[in-house]
Amino acid sequence: MQNILATILQPNPSQAAPVDNASVWHQMSDALHQSLFRILSQLIAILPGILALVIALAVFTLLGMALSALLRRGLTLLKFDDRLARSRSNNDWTPSTSPTALIGRTSFWACVLLGLVVGVSAFDASFATGATLPISLLPYLTHVTGAVFLLIAGTFLARFLARSVLIGAVNTQIQYARFLSLGVKWLVLVLAGAMALDHLQIGGIVVELTFGILFGGIVLTLALAVGLGSRDLVSRSLEGHAEHSSERSGQPSTTPTAGPEDSIRHF
C-alpha cells in the first residue's frame, strides 16, 4: 500500500504537478459520484415498493375501520347479539367478547392483514425487479408475520387451556391443580415457540432437539405427577362408575321410596 501511494505521489518529471492532483481528485470524485448514484438508484428502485407497502397498509386499515364500524352498527341495529343468544344455549367454548364486537374486530384485522399481504407482495415484486440490493432480512418479512401470529395464537391457547385445566382440576378436587395448569400452559407455549422458530428457519436442528427435550420433559413430569398423585381420584371415579352401573342394573320400582334418608342432591 505504501508502495502504491509512493508511486502515486512520486513526482513525474514529464507531467506538471497541478494536472496530476486534478486527475486524482477527479477520479475520486467520479468514484464517489458513481457509488452515490448506484446507491440512490437502488434506493429509488425500492422506494416505490416501500411506498406501495405503506399505502396498501394505510388504505386497507382505513377500509377495515370503515367496514368494522359499518358491521358493528348494522349488527347492533339488527340485535344480532340478542338473536344469537336466543338461538343458542350455553356452550363450553364461548368468546369473551360479544359476537358483534368479535365480528367487528375480526373484519378490521382481516383488512389489515390483507393490506399487509398486498403491500408485501407489491414490495416483493418491486424488490425483485429493483436490483441486487442484498438486504437479507427483507425476505423474512412474511415469515416474521407468520411467526408473530403463531406466538399470539399460542399464547391465547395456552391461557385458555391453562384456565380450563385449573378449573376442571379444582372442581375434581385435585390438590396439585395449579401445577397441572402451569404444566399445560408451558407445554403449549413451548410448542408455539418452537413452531415460530421453525417458521423463521432459525436454529434448525438445535430448536427441534431443544423442543423435543423440553416437551418430553414436561409430559414426563405431568405423567409422573398425575400417575403418582391421582390414585385417589381414579379410585373415586371407578367407585362412582361401579355405583352408577349397579343403579342402572337394578330393577325399577313402582312404589315411591325416598332413597337414602337425608342425602344431598344438587338437582
Binding site: D82, A85, R86, S87, R88, S89, N90, N91, D92, W93, T94, P95, S96, T97, S98, F160, R163, S164, L166, I167, G168, V170, N171, T172, Q173, Q175, A177, R178, G240, H244, E247, P252, T254, P256, T257, A258, G259, E261, D262, S263, I264, R265, H266, F267
Partner: protein, 398 residues
C-alpha cells in the same frame, strides 16, 4: 292437595274435566307407565285423554285409552327444548285443548295431583300449572340456592321449583314455549333446558302452583355436578340476559303462601357431610382467587377471605354475600368477562360453600325452607345492586 298459588284463581278439585287433554309421558319402564295410566284413568274420563308415550306396548292393558307414539327423549332431570316442541306439535296434530307434561318419575305422584295439574289448564284461565313438590330438605339444592331466588327476584314469581318436570300447559303457553324452544332445536341444541315460568311471566300469562306431594327425584342425565351445574345455571343466566328489559322494572311479588309440611328425616352427621365441600372451597380459594378477582368486587373477595378462615363448625355464608356473588356472576356472564364455561366452573366451589353453610344452619335447628326464603329475601334486597351494575358496569364498585 289441590291448592293454588294466590296469584291465580282457586281451583276446585271437583271441577269436571274437559275434553282434549294431551298427556306427554317421558321414557320410563313399562310397569311405571302402567302405574301412571292407572292414576290418569282415575283422574280423568278415559274418552277425554290422549296419551303420548314413547312406548306404545302398554296400549293392550288399557284398551279404553287412546295412546299414540311420542318421540323418545333422553332421560333428564329437566324438561328440554325438544320436549316442548314435540308437545306442541302433537297438540296441534290432535287439536288438544290442554297439555299435561309428565316427567320420568311422575309415577310417584298421586292421581289427585295429576288431576290438579290437568284440570287447572283445562277448566281455569291458568296457562301454566307448575308442580310444587314436597321434597326432603337436602334435595334440589341448586334450585334452592340459585334458581328459586333468581326467578323470584327477577320475574316476581313464587314458583318454588322453576325447573319442575310435571307441568300443565294451555295451548297458547305451549305455543309460546315451542316458539322459544324452536330456536334451540334449530341450532341442534334440543337438550337445552327451557324456563317456562320466565316465559309465562314475560308474556303476562297466568301461573298456578299446585302442591303435588312427594316425588322420587329423577337421576340427572349428566353424570355429575360439574357437568349439570354449568348447563342449568348457564341456561338461566342466558335467559336473564335475554329478558333484561323485563326484569329491570320493579314488580310486585305475590304474597307468600303456607309452606309445604315436609317430614324431616333424622339428621345425619353434618360435619362429615360438609367436610368435602369445605375442602373444595378451600382448594378453590387457594387456586381460583385470580379468576374470582376478575369477576367479584373487593368487598365480596374480603367476605370470601373471612369465610375461608372459619372452621367447619362455624362455617356460615352471609345471605347478602351469596346474593352479590350470584349477581356478579350473572353480570360477568353478560359481559363475558372471562370465557363462560370457565365462569360457571368457577362458581361451583362457591355454590358448594353455600351448601355447606346451608347444612350447618339447618343442622343447628333452623327451618330449611325458612333459610331458603331468607336467602331469596336477600336476593330481593340486593336487586338494586344488580340493576345498578347491569346498567353501569364500569362504575366504581368497592
Amino acid at each position: 292437595m289441590a291448592t293454588t298459588d294466590p296469584i291465580s284463581e282457586i281451583v276446585t278439585p271437583s271441577a269436571p274435566a274437559s275434553v282434549g287433554l294431551l298427556v306427554m309421558l317421558a321414557s320410563m319402564p313399562a310397569e311405571q307407565v302402567e302405574s301412571v295410566l292407572t292414576k290418569l284413568s282415575a283422574a280423568f274420563p278415559a274418552e277425554d285423554l290422549l296419551i303420548a308415550a314413547p312406548d306404545e306396548s302398554c296400549a293392550d292393558s288399557f284398551p279404553s285409552l287412546r295412546i299414540v307414539a311420542a318421540p323418545a327423549s333422553t332421560p333428564s332431570s329437566t324438561l328440554t327444548a325438544a320436549n316442548f316442541v314435540h308437545a306442541y306439535q302433537l297438540a296441534q296434530t290432535h287439536e288438544a285443548r290442554a297439555i299435561l307434561v309428565l316427567g320420568p318419575e311422575s309415577w310417584s305422584l298421586e292421581s289427585i295431583a295429576l288431576h290438579s295439574l290437568g284440570s287447572a289448564v283445562l277448566t281455569t284461565p291458568i296457562d301454566l300449572a307448575v308442580s310444587r313438590y314436597a321434597l326432603r330438605p337436602r334435595v334440589s339444592l341448586v334450585t334452592s340456592a340459585i334458581l328459586y331466588p333468581l326467578t323470584r327476584t327477577l320475574f316476581a314469581s313464587r314458583v318454588r321449583f322453576p325447573l319442575a318436570i310435571d307441568l300443565g300447559l294451555s295451548p297458547r303457553m305451549a305455543e309460546r314455549l315451542a316458539s322459544a324452544a324452536q330456536r334451540f332445536v334449530a341450532a341442534d341444541q334440543g337438550e337445552a333446558p327451557l324456563w317456562p315460568v320466565n316465559e309465562a311471566t314475560v308474556s303476562g300469562f297466568a301461573i298456578g302452583q299446585f302442591d303435588v306431594g312427594p316425588l322420587v327425584q329423577p337421576h340427572p342425565s349428566a353424570p355429575d355436578l360439574n357437568t349439570m351445574f354449568p348447563l342449568v345455571t348457564g341456561s338461566l343466566f342466558s335467559d336473564i340476559d335475554a329478558k333484561a328489559a323485563f326484569w329491570q322494572r320493579p314488580r310486585q311479588l305475590p304474597p307468600a303462601r303456607e309452606p309445604v309440611p315436609i317430614e324431616l328425616a333424622p339428621s345425619s352427621d353434618s360435619a362429615a357431610e360438609i367436610a368435602p365441600m369445605i375442602n373444595a372451597f378451600h382448594l378453590a380459594y387457594s387456586n381460583l382467587y385470580e379468576i374470582w378477582s376478575l369477576v367479584l368486587p373487593p368487598n365480596s373477595l374480603l367476605g370470601l377471605k373471612r369465610l375461608s378462615a372459619l372452621d367447619a363448625a362455624a362455617f356460615r355464608m352471609p345471605n347478602s354475600l351469596w346474593a352479590r356473588i350470584v349477581y356478579d356472576f350473572v353480570l360477568a356472564y353478560r359481559l363475558r368477562t372471562i370465557n363462560r364455561g370457565h365462569l360457571l366452573g368457577a362458581l361451583i366451589p362457591l355454590y358448594l360453600a353455600w351448601v355447606a353453610s346451608h347444612i350447618n344452619i339447618t343442622a343447628s335447628g333452623a327451618d330449611p325452607e325458612g333459610h331458603i326464603e331468607s336467602v331469596a329475601a336477600a336476593f330481593e334486597a340486593e336487586k338494586s345492586y344488580l340493576v345498578s351494575r347491569w346498567r353501569w358496569p364500569d362504575r366504581f364498585n368497592p
